[in-house]
Amino acid sequence: MEIMTRDFGRLEIAESDIIIFKSGLPGFENLEEFVLLPLGEESPFIVMQSVDNPDIAFVTVEPGNLIQNYEFEISDKTEKELEIKKVSDVLILNIITLKNEIKKSTANLSAPIVINIEDKLGKQVILDDSRYQVRYKIFAPVEEVAE
């Protein structure tokens, strides 16, 4: 099927690539279908695009790029909802909020997106964990190039 995307124009996607978020995402409770579109071959960023609304897309990244030892417990409820059978089927993504001054961009470590990549089911879970912030600064200051 063909969908309109925010960042890549019209795209042909396979229906089997659509990830279902049964209760949407906080703030976007009515959007249940998303596809993952890598930003580029070399890029760690993945755009999570709404199938229903071309304007809604999130820039995401796997937490391993951002922080060491990111860990949380997936609740029994989430495990059931997402029909998770094995850990290797789980993909974790964190949403990035880009700022005009790009260095000030942040990642939401408090609300990771948990995806069962095998069964294409997803959910944004909210961790009440003081270690992980909603706005975690992700970028190192760019080093000045010596002349």
Partner: protein, 75 residues
Amino acid sequence: MLVLTRKLNEKIVIDERIEITVVGIENGKVQLGIEAPQEIEIMRKELLEDVKEENKKAVKNKKLLEELNNIKFKL
């Protein structure tokens, strides 16, 4: 909205399966103990609101995408 007054260590029960106990009252703070079945999600409301707001901000990123490739992560 139902408003109840409870003293320290007193409880309320919701739907015969969620029990909330006042476990501490100190300096304008109330500490609550909540016992509920696992399928009940419990979180501080301001955290949920914060995540909603952040999600709404995060979708306004379009024009900044190209710049991303020029930046190094902290790690």
